[in-house]
């Protein structure tokens, strides 16, 4: 397996504050995957995205893109990297310059990367990209950003990314500002890009339900470190780390048979700096033990496709090389989606 992008013990600190703590993972180039990164505000999701995008360099460790260290790339390599790793941001309002027509964000990359030899060819590429994300070119081009809805603008951003035929799209909360009725459509488009164009996708979100629906694997971050990682069926379907359990039990499901737990939440938010060298979740953990305060837990692989960084699972083998992607589910074993079958709903839920 050759790695498309690799984080080797990457960490980012701002003064005494650790935004991201010692993350090692690699995404395969041969098997395009969909990986979710989830956690609460301030857990390091966006820092991880920005490091993968090469917007910021890690304070420690390194990021390799197809074997090349992103921090020390030459100009030409960096251009290539910038083309192949595309961002989709959270706010579909901020990314547009209100004075330019929508066309501007699409023609600029075509020009900068010399994707087309003529205006007609450029137009064709742009129209193709728009159609791919479900927008009608004739209704979209020539308009100003304020004339499109948030969902449409977000799709334009996806189209812009697609235009460059990237190998990796890093989508940082792409639908959190879009109405529920449009979210599903945009996420479905990301899924299609992954399947049809072999683009790997890193989906950064705080919404575990959509992560479960579209991704193969998930990483749950807590205060910059990995709390739990593995296949979405394991991590979201049956969370092991007390923090993941808290997250999953707090999802407001539109299902009256699954009410929120009635128990009091002790410390819903992290408060102040973490104490000592122990587990970062100790102060909020309902299962906290003596050992949790003194040393950090290792990544215990409770199953072949899951690890939990928690002493409750210390009997399970610890991960040796710190590479959390070793518990990711290879995407080629992904179960057939119901959407690929005939109906809309799957009467036989997969069991794991």
């Amino acid at each position: 397996m050759s790695a498309l992008i690799e984080l080797q013990r990457a960490a980012k600190t701002y003064g005494a504050f650790t935004a991201l703590d010692d993350i090692t993972l690699s995404l395969s180039e041969d098997a395009p995957s969909m990986t979710a990164v989830a956690g609460e505000s301030g857990c390091g999701k966006t820092t991880l995205a920005r490091i993968m995008l090469g917007f910021i360099d890690p304070s420690r460790g390194k990021v390799l893109y197809r074997g090349q260290n992103v921090a020390t790339m030459s100009g030409a390599e960096r251009r290539q990297f910038r083309r192949e790793v595309q961002p989709v941001f959270q706010d579909p309002f901020d990314v547009f310059n209100p004075f330019y027509r929508i066309d501007h964000v699409l023609t600029t990359p075509v020009r900068r990367y010399g994707l087309a030899h003529s205006d007609a060819e450029a137009r064709k590429l742009i129209e193709e990209a728009l159609s791919r994300v479900g927008l009608r070119p004739q209704d979209t081009l020539g308009r100003f950003p304020h004339e499109l809805s948030g969902g449409q603008r977000q799709r334009v951003m996806v189209a812009r990314a697609v235009l460059l035929r990237p190998k990796l799209i890093i989508a940082d909360e792409p639908v959190s500002m879009v109405d529920a009725s449009l979210r599903a459509t945009i996420l479905d488009e990301l899924k299609t890009l992954n399947r049809d164009l072999d683009i790997s996708i890193v989906y950064i979100t705080h919404d575990l339900t959509t992560a479960f629906q579209i991704c193969d694997s998930i990483v749950i971050l807590y205060r910059g470190a990995v709390a739990e990682a593995g296949s979405v069926e394991r991590v979201i379907g049956d969370p092991k780390h007390p923090y993941s359990q808290l997250l999953v039990s707090s999802i407001p499901l539109p299902d009256l048979s699954k009410p929120w737990g009635g128990e009091e939440i002790r410390n819903a938010e992290p408060s102040g700096p973490t104490r000592g060298a122990g587990c970062k979740f100790a102060e909020r953990c309902p299962h906290v033990m003596e050992m949790c305060w003194t040393s950090p837990p290792a990544e215990y692989t409770t199953e072949s496709d899951r690890l939990a960084t928690c002493f409750l699972y210390r009997d399970a083998p610890a991960l040796k090389d710190k590479n959390i992607s070793s518990v990711f589910r290879p995407p080629d074993t992904k179960p057939r989606l119901a959407s690929e079958a005939a109906g809309n709903t799957n009467p036989h839920p997969e069991r794991y």
Binding site: S181, L187, F212, S250, P252
Partner: protein, 344 residues
């Protein structure tokens, strides 16, 4: 009071009747809230759900009579405990707000004054209604903060020293400081993480239970509304298109829009195709003839494009504005789709 007879008759604390709120625009009035009627019993939790632009927030502000130009309340009544908020004198209105009906605004985090200590902001609100000694006030503040699960010591803090969840709870402490009969909560948790969201909503639930107040919770998250409300109203383009007990609304929605809204929420039991709602809500200055959902509705037929459906009773305490009824008892299976799936 004279109104007692009326109140006993209706058994409701808040009766909204034919409320209409328009925004004056250069292309004519935008009907942000159009002929909305509903009523609320003491202790009831009504969840109003809708997409952006469906008129939810306009409605919340109109209930408090806080509508500002270019918005205009053009008709209807909001009877609170027998008195019409829309007809009160300014003096009466000032006395009624907070004491009888209180708003937890959207993004309560930014509704706090950044240069005032929390304590002073809470006292400010209370002092506008009741005379109390400074000591009694301080004690009251401590009590209010404890009630929303905050340490009374945070009273001395400024808003920037509080986390998002704490600010939201502080706003809740202010809103409930005079034990109002009706609490209007406009997307109170939209900027919060799930864990904090659950905690804030559970706090609101406990407060409301303790006060016996009725709550109007406005939101766009069907999951959140389902977890909190006992009655759900669905708004579309300024109208309530369906309203009923939460169980029926989730498990047996009658309006096609409600059904699509429920279906667009993925669960975590099984992977399935994500289904969005094709199309976009109409522009409020340029409403389609007939049912405003008809351009996006997989069930739409000719009559839907001509005639605006009115809310009609269907099932116990459930009402729906859809021409599929009363000919059908439940929502029929979805007709073969002729809709272009990705129409923008």
């Amino acid at each position: 009071m004279i109104v007692e007879a009326q109140q006993a008759a209706t058994d409701a604390i808040l009766v909204v009747d034919n409320l209409n709120v328009h925004y004056d625009t250069s292309s004519g009035p935008a009907k942000a809230v159009s002929d909305v009627s509903f009523s609320l019993k003491p202790g009831e939790r009504l969840g109003l759900i809708g997409e952006s632009g469906s008129g939810k927030t306009t409605m919340a502000t109109a209930l408090m009579r806080l509508t500002r130009a270019p918005g205009r309340i053009v008709g209807g009544s909001v009877m609170l405990d027998g008195r019409d908020i829309l007809k009160m004198s300014i003096k009466e209105l000032r006395a009624t707000r907070l004491r009888d009906i209180a708003l937890i605004p959207q993004g309560a985090m930014s509704s706090l004054n950044p240069v005032m200590r929390l304590e002073d902001q809470i006292i400010d609100a209370i002092a506008a209604h009741v005379q109390m000694s400074r000591e009694a006030m301080t004690a009251r503040v401590a009590e209010l903060l404890t009630r929303v699960g905050l340490d009374p010591a945070v009273a001395r803090r400024y808003p920037h020293e509080l986390s998002g969840g704490m600010k939201q709870r502080a706003a809740m402490a202010i809103a409930t400081s005079l034990s109002p009969k009706v609490i209007v909560a406009d997307e109170p948790t939209s900027a919060l993480d799930v864990v904090v969201q659950r905690q804030v909503m559970q706090t609101l639930g406990k407060l409301q239970g303790g006060l016996g107040a009725a709550v109007v919770l406005i939101g766009h998250d069907m999951g959140l509304i389902a977890q909190f409300a006992n009655t759900v109203g669905v708004m579309y383009a300024g109208k309530i298109v369906e309203i009923g007990p939460v169980k029926q609304m989730i498990e047996a929605p009658r309006h096609p829009y409600t059904k699509l809204l429920v279906d667009s929420l993925p669960g975590i039991d099984q992977k399935r195709a994500l289904t969005g709602i094709p199309g976009l809500p109409p522009r409020l200055v340029d409403m389609p003839d007939g049912c405003s959902f008809s351009p996006r509705c997989p069930y739409a037929f000719d009559r839907c494009r001509r005639e605006t459906p009115l809310l009609q009773p269907i099932g116990p305490e459930q009402r729906v504005a859809c021409h599929l009824y009363p000919d059908n008892l439940a929502l029929p299976p979805r007709p073969a789709t002729t809709h272009q799936e990705h129409a923008p």
